[in-house]
């Protein structure tokens, strides 16, 4: 393989040299008191800045794709390059040496979760139409999963899809939908058989977000941003060839997406938030606030460093396994728990050190700037499956503990008591 790999590396290097600037300093280096001190997890840029960043992400993904680096491991019939997984790792390592636009708006949900789901469960027309466009940065995808009455208990969702000839008619409401305002398509889970038990009457579809009847409304978060949305679906018509998997077989399809989601959330490495809670940065916080003599703080700093290393290495191993072709398993829940815990503890550590200066914006560098991350950390412990759900998954699938007894997996969905209903047995 080495000749081919050498050629691949040379080609990637040539592309990056021609299209990007090599970094002078590693992105992890800290210079306290200089530059941008905002620490964001969720973007909360004004709409015009946000739009500019999304455009830059699309443009960089298009250039990558056109040069053969947009979907390195994808099957050639859908626009992938068909190279072995190691090529992906090699390219990422090379690209990390350059300053390039952040493409997470494309990669986190669309390419990280929905792309693999379409590839595994989609029909040919959907694969042909959307996969190349997604990997070329033209189509951003969102996840139309959660509903007002179906959060942790996702399988109790109520949005309906009713068959009408070669089409389905979808009606309902989705909520907490990240990046729906940028998305061209959404992957929607819908109730298709209310008389079957809840997991057995769901079907998955790809919905065109510009179709009549789709209405996206922003939700503002306590951290300041508005990356979340409500999505109303009012008799939205979707062709049957946009169905993923079997009719009433949508839960299996959703599991593919959810497994990739946990891997994706837990696997986030870079970004201002991860950098802010990294040992060098937290060390700088402690130094800047003159807390050198605080033994308890020193110990916590070291403990945070140890947890950070554990999480990074776990993710590295997971990436290696995924790239070698393994499916994400329940261990992704461990990554997700550890990652959220690290960011939360790191933010709380900084908050404690900064004290009241974090609450009021005095203009002092690196103090008030922590508030965004601090206010974002609860979301990290909720999105992509709450910590309680992650622990249940580990308890059952890894430790083999017995399930909680319940009637909801055998009872027809129609007869289950749900949020928003007055009483048990209410007829939907």
């Amino acid at each position: 393989m080495s000749d081919e790999m050498d050629a691949f590396v040379a080609e990637a290097r040539e592309f990056l040299e021609a299209n990007a600037t090599r970094r002078d300093v590693p992105s992890t280096e800290v210079e306290w008191g200089r530059g941008e001190d905002r620490i964001t997890y969720f973007g909360d840029d004004p709409p015009e800045v946000d739009a500019r960043k999304v455009a830059a992400a699309r443009e960089w993904q298009r250039r990558r794709y056109d040069a053969g680096f947009g979907w390195i491991t994808g099957p050639p019939q859908y626009g992938g390059r068909g190279l072995p997984n190691v090529a992906d790792l090699v390219y990422d390592a090379l690209e990390a040496e350059y300053d390039v636009p952040d493409t997470s708006v494309l990669s986190l949900i669309g390419l990280g979760m929905i792309g693999p789901t379409i590839l595994a469960h989609g029909q040919e027309p959907v694969k042909d139409r959307y996969l190349p466009a997604m990997y070329r940065g033209e189509v951003i995808a969102c996840q139309l999963f959660s509903e007002p009455a179906a959060g942790s208990d996702l399988a109790s969702l109520e949005t309906t899809a009713v068959r009408d000839g070669d089409e389905w008619v979808i009606t309902g409401q989705k909520v907490w939908t990240s990046i729906a305002h940028h998305a061209q398509i959404g992957m929607a889970l819908c109730r298709t058989a209310p008389d079957k038990p809840k997991h057995k009457g769901i079907t998955a579809f790809i919905v065109d977000m510009s179709a009549p009847g789709v209405d996206v409304r922003p939700l503002r978060q306590m951290s300041g941003g508005a990356e979340f949305n409500e999505v109303f679906l009012d008799e939205v018509r979707v062709p049957d060839d946009h169905r993923l998997g079997e009719v009433d077989g949508g839960w299996r399809v959703a599991l593919t997406t959810l497994m990739n989601e946990r891997a994706s959330v837990g696997g986030e490495g870079a970004g201002p938030a991860a950098r802010a809670v990294s040992p060098p940065f937290l060390t700088a916080v402690l130094k800047a606030h003159g807390r050198l003599g605080d033994a308890a703080a020193r110990r916590r700093l070291a403990e945070l460093a140890a947890d950070q290393i554990a999480t990074e290495y776990l993710n590295l191993q997971a990436v290696r396994r995924l790239r070698a072709g393994a499916q994400p398993g329940p261990e992704a829940s461990v990554s997700k728990l550890m990652y959220a815990q690290n960011l939360t503890r790191g933010a709380h550590f900084a908050a404690e050190i900064a004290g009241p200066r974090l609450i009021a914006d005095t203009g002092e560098w690196g103090t008030f700037s922590w508030n965004e991350l601090l206010l974002s950390t609860p979301a990290l412990r909720i999105l992509g499956g709450t910590e309680e759900i992650m622990k249940n998954i580990l308890a059952e699938r890894v430790l083999g503990l017995p399930k909680e007894p319940g009637i909801d997996s055998t009872t027809p969905f129609r007869e289950l008591r749900r949020s928003g209903q007055g009483r048990a047995g209410g007829k939907a």
Binding site: T311, A395, E396, L401
Partner: protein
């Protein structure tokens, strides 16, 4: 930086499973240090070790922890790193570990020796003692006979460890210190990786006991493991064990460094030490009153894990030292490079 990716290099999964099975049987059949050493020799352990030290250490110390075994295998790990710096041995060697009460400080040259031995010195000719001379680490090779009247069982938290304390030992007169260069640093790093692995093994066995108990114990008409208050504790314990194991693997990735990957090894020992505190708190709680009596095995895991935490630096001392280094400008070593 050169990064030796030693983990998982030599042995495939099937061989590893076979070896783990052999080690389980071996540690079930042999309980004293001498017969464990003899059985390991018969198994050809030296060859396994030479072929893939990371996997061999991980397998052996995991099973050692799970079985709550006591032996001198940790001495072997340290002596392998110390031997190149020492004169040829006159017979079998043991190691005197720094006394836990000294928080990692080595004894000064010329002062009475202090520390811990992993067991009785029967058949041992020399004891290798790390010491400090004018701010640098040195090694003293002390005839075992000198310790004759100086040892006492450690008692305390884990009387079953079989460890011996040397509280005020012989003054090593007439023994010239050997410049250790990096040998002690490397030996300590290797020892910390092994101990962190052993702690993870103890934790896994405790977690398995708690898992089996809570699945079998019925209250309110259902297994108590079906209550979230119980299962979430055990899930958290699992996360802690994974974190500990992962830092050891990360530390192995740095073991090829000139200092033996000392920084990463200390982080691994620190993380494992914290994990045992968290894991055993959870496993004790879910056993309810049963964990409080000696009829349950749980107390043995609690005391062994705590004793292993105290060896070569407890997690609080290691955190203190690491935090201080971070603040005084020692760069945290990048742990991984692709």
């Amino acid at each position: 930086m050169t990064t030796a990716l030693t983990t998982g290099s030599g042995l495939d999964a099937e061989t590893r499973e076979l070896l783990a099975g052999s080690l389980r049987e071996l540690l079930a059949a042999h309980t004293d240090a001498a017969s464990i050493a003899a059985a390991l020799a018969e198994l050809g352990w030296d060859e396994v070790w030479a072929g893939d030290p990371a996997t061999a250490t991980t397998l052996l110390f995991t099973e050692h922890g799970r079985a709550l075994a006591t032996s001198r295998v940790l001495d072997d790990v340290l002596l392998a790193e110390l031997a190149p710096a020492l004169p040829a041995p006159t017979g079998p060697r043991a190691v005197l570990y720094p006394h836990p009460a000294d928080k990692g400080d080595l004894v000064a040259c010329g002062a009475p020796l202090r520390g811990l031995l992993l067991g009785r010195l029967d058949g041992v000719a020399e004891v290798v003692v790390p010491a400090v001379d004018a701010d640098s680490a040195v090694l003293l090779v002390v005839p075992a006979a000198k310790f004759a009247d100086a040892t006492a069982p450690t008692g305390g938290f884990d009387p079953q460890s079989g460890w011996l304390a040397v509280a005020r030992g012989p003054v090593p007169d007439g023994i010239s210190p050997v410049r250790a260069a990096d040998a002690w640093t490397r030996a300590q790093a290797a020892g910390r990786r092994a101990l962190a692995t052993e702690i993870a093994g103890v934790c896994e066995a405790a977690l398995a006991l708690a898992t089996a108990h809570t699945a079998a114990r019925w209250q309110y008409g259902r297994p108590i493991a079906s209550f979230q208050a119980v299962r979430h504790r055990l899930a958290e314990a699992h996360v802690a064990v994974v974190a500990a194991r992962t830092t050891v693997e990360a530390a192995w990735a740095m073991a090829g460094e000139p200092d033996g990957g000392a920084w990463a090894a200390r982080i691994a020992k620190l993380r494992a030490g914290r994990a045992q505190a968290d894991v055993l708190r959870h496993t004790v709680q879910v056993l309810g009153a049963m964990s409080l009596t000696l009829e349950s095995e749980m107390h043995r895991f609690v005391t062994r894990a705590a004793a292993l935490d105290a060896l070569l630096g407890d997690h609080l001392s290691l955190a203190e030292a690491t935090g201080t280094e971070l603040l005084t400008g020692t760069e945290p070593h990048p742990v991984v490079e692709i």
